[in-house]
């Protein structure tokens, strides 16, 4: 059963959000430039690895094993974290996770926390929940900070402010940080953020984070980052609360060796990321003296139960599929209405919230397959998209609206026609006759019904007078 409290925000249907985004020419420019830059970086560092395909296969194998024995590994992780002085909490859904985190923060008496960039806490909308509880959460990742100051939603899992260019960021910082003379030089912008954040790192006593990996055998948790803000959050405060999706487990310490080769190259296009923090429970006198690990389900076990959809949980949130996606490049992330945009979002979101609540997302793809090619853990995204489309149709057909749906009737009708050669040939002739009012010089430029969506922007070549098969028959007669 799907949890009822999954609260990923869902906007209107994808095509509606996409249409709006496509009208924004600045967004188109920003997105095109950013995605093309990161793609080039990724392909340079991936192409230099002669064993890349073997690494991908290893990544797939390790994750497939994790999914097959998730229950065992989770219990093993809990025991190891507890033995190392940490406290493990189990959260069935967003509501439970938010409640646990809020209570833990309340017990410290503070009303301010610093955050390491974390998709999982975005997924459960922790910041909003904490705000309602009177606790201010300060994002310390530069792009997350930009989004927070702009009061916007993330549009990318790795670079949430990818839709903004530097002059837009300058204007934002000038206002929010009261720096009227700030230039749009990247160095100046980073320095302004650094100044702003440094004060918080020095004073705030509680931090939250997500996790890239957690090692079941040792109880170690790993965060991979670029800016050093994560390192500050993970070492300076007294209390650290980590919220982690249950699928982030790796069985053994040595498995990290595979993923630390796959992740940075796929993600930021670097051979190695600047900061990798790994901690095991609590070390007396060093770093946070209280460590809480919140293990979140929030729909993941229902994804696990689906034999085809299960591979979605292999995802290591690198964003290679997002960066390569020609749909994402045009629409940006907001059209997906979820913390998880792009191809991975199009398969993960509907599975977490139920396809009925995100029925347009599996169709937000031309099935071009570029995502599958770049996925470091070999998630067959096109296959899962087609699988989910099947679920969408099956669910729709159970409803009255579905039973009356024009598309469903058309598809069923066509399937009946295609199942019989004579009916098919009759339909070819009928189509040729039916098109004549619309054909102009061999082309249809204003089609009726469902063709209108095509001809609004493209001409459509008319059906020629003779089909191939009728030509073939004539030819056979001739030869005899």
């Amino acid at each position: 059963m799907k949890p009822d409290s999954v609260i990923i925000e869902l906007s209107p249907r994808f095509e509606v959000g996409a249409k709006k985004a496509l009208q924004n020419t600045q967004l188109r420019r920003n997105m095109g430039k950013a995605t093309q830059t990161i793609r080039a970086k990724r392909s340079a560092v991936v192409d230099e690895k002669s064993d890349w395909q073997a690494l991908r296969e290893a990544g797939w194998q390790i994750k497939a094993d994790v999914m097959a024995q998730l229950d065992t590994y989770l219990v093993q992780l809990e025991a190891a974290v507890t033995a190392a002085g940490g406290v493990v909490h189990w959260a069935r859904d967003a509501r439970e996770a938010n409640h646990i985190v809020t209570e833990l923060i309340r017990q410290t008496g503070t009303n301010e926390i610093i955050k390491v960039k974390s998709l999982t806490t975005d997924e459960i909308r922790l910041n909003e929940h904490l705000e309602e509880a009177g606790i201010q959460a300060i994002e310390t990742d530069l792009a997350e900070l930009i989004i927070q100051l702009a009061n916007e939603k993330s549009s990318h899992i790795l670079v949430p402010a990818i839709h903004k260019n530097r002059s837009e960021i300058r204007a934002l910082f000038q206002k929010a940080m009261n720096l009227p003379d700030l230039t749009d030089e990247p160095k100046a912008l980073a320095a302004a953020a650094r100044q702003y954040l440094r004060e918080k790192f020095m004073s705030v006593k509680v931090a939250t984070s997500g996790a890239n990996f957690a090692i079941a055998e040792t109880g170690s948790v790993c965060v991979v980052e670029s800016e050093g803000n994560g390192r500050m959050c993970l070492t300076m405060p007294d209390v650290l609360i980590t919220v982690m999706g249950i699928e982030k487990i790796l069985p053994k310490w040595q498995d990290l060796g595979v993923f630390m080769q796959l992740l940075p190259r796929s993600s930021t296009g670097e051979r190695m990321n600047p900061y990798t923090s790994i901690w095991t429970g609590v070390t007396p006198g060093d770093g946070p003296q209280q460590f809480h690990l919140v293990l979140l389900d929030n729909g993941r076990t229902s994804v696990l139960a689906d034999a085809v959809g299960r591979q979605t949980l292999h995802c290591i949130r690198c964003s290679a599929c997002i960066n390569i996606c020609p749909v994402y490049e045009r629409t940006g992330g907001h059209a997906y209405g979820s913390v998880y945009p792009g191809p991975i979002g199009a398969i993960l979101t509907p599975q977490l919230v139920g396809t009925a609540h995100a029925s347009s997302l599996p169709y937000a793809s031309s099935l071009c397959g570029a995502c599958y090619d770049v996925c470091p853990v070999k998630i067959n995204i096109p296959e899962v998209l087609v699988h989910l489309r099947g679920q969408v149709v099956a669910e729709k057909q159970k409803t009255l609206a579905g039973a009356l749906d024009v598309e469903a009737w058309g598809m069923q009708g066509l399937a009946t026609v295609f199942a019989n050669r004579r009916a098919y040939e009759a339909a070819q002739s009928a189509g040729r006759l039916a098109q004549w009012p619309f054909v102009n010089d061999g082309y249809i430029d204003q089609g009726p019904g469902p063709l209108a969506a095509w001809t609004a922007m493209r001409d459509l070549g008319a059906i020629p007078q003779q089909s191939f098969r009728s030509w073939w028959r004539e030819r056979q007669k001739h030869e005899q």
Partner: protein
């Protein structure tokens, strides 16, 4: 060899000249072509749009009709991809082991037209003459789906008189994607705009591909813009001869 032409419903109805060209070229290189007349549609549109139950009879039908042949050749990379990749998946989901077995025996004998010539027959020069400036768009299903590699380009480069110009951003989807082109018409057009810009930049007279479905999309915009650039399936270039 006993070569069966899998024309696809799309080419049969909308692009008959492609089928004629394929027959002529295959015969020119010494193959005996047959056309199993019972064939209709492989079920790709239904399957990929989510109407998977409706597609199953079409899938079973295809397997019945084409199983007797040594080689099945088609001028559509996406329909070949459907048979080679998705039939296996469809049988798996239906938990139909008998169908899965039949699909496994059939799939390896289904070839896209250019890969049949280059990979199976080891022919790149089919004796064509085409003195025009041409660019080539590798469709997603030919490139990433069934991985025909550079087979189409090798065939094109062997054409006498041709002025072949590579396309910038060639590997990127044109935005067709079957029902995607209608369900997400705005995004589809945004993708197509960039593809069209790259095609026009080559100053080619003709844009060639191994899928007429993508070409219908690309050609639809080229025609709407009165660009003067034509589209043609690879086979229709290769069929052209001197005199």
């Amino acid at each position: 060899m006993n070569v069966a032409l899998f024309i696809t419903c799309f080419n049969d109805t909308l692009f008959p000249n492609t089928g004629k060209a394929v027959v002529e070229i295959l015969e020119r290189v010494g193959q005996q072509v047959v056309f199993p007349e019972e064939q209709t549609c492989c079920g790709q549109m239904h399957f990929n749009t989510g109407y998977q139950q409706a597609a199953m009879p079409l899938i079973r039908r295809f397997v019945d009709i084409f199983t007797p042949y040594d080689a099945i050749v088609s001028p559509s990379a996406s329909c070949v991809g459907m048979v080679r990749e998705m039939y296996r998946y469809a049988a798996e989901v239906q938990q139909d082991t008998q169908l899965a077995e039949r699909v496994a025996q059939l799939a390896d004998r289904v070839y896209e037209f250019s890969e049949f010539l280059v990979h199976k027959l080891a022919i790149t020069d089919v004796g064509a003459y085409y003195p025009h400036r041409v660019t080539y768009h590798p469709t997603c299903h030919s490139l990433r789906g069934i991985r025909v590699g550079d087979a189409p380009e090798r065939l094109l480069r062997a054409v006498r008189g041709i002025d072949y110009v590579p396309l910038v951003g060639a590997a990127e989807c044109c935005g067709f994607g079957g029902t995607f082109a209608v369900k997400n018409a705005d995004t589809s057009m945004a993708m197509l705009s960039d593809k069209i810009r790259h095609i026009l930049d080559t100053r080619a007279e003709v844009c060639v591909a191994a899928d007429n479905s993508c070409l219908m999309h690309i050609g639809g915009a080229l025609h709407r813009q009165r660009s003067g650039v034509q589209i043609a399936h690879l086979a229709e270039i290769l069929v052209a001869q001197e005199g």
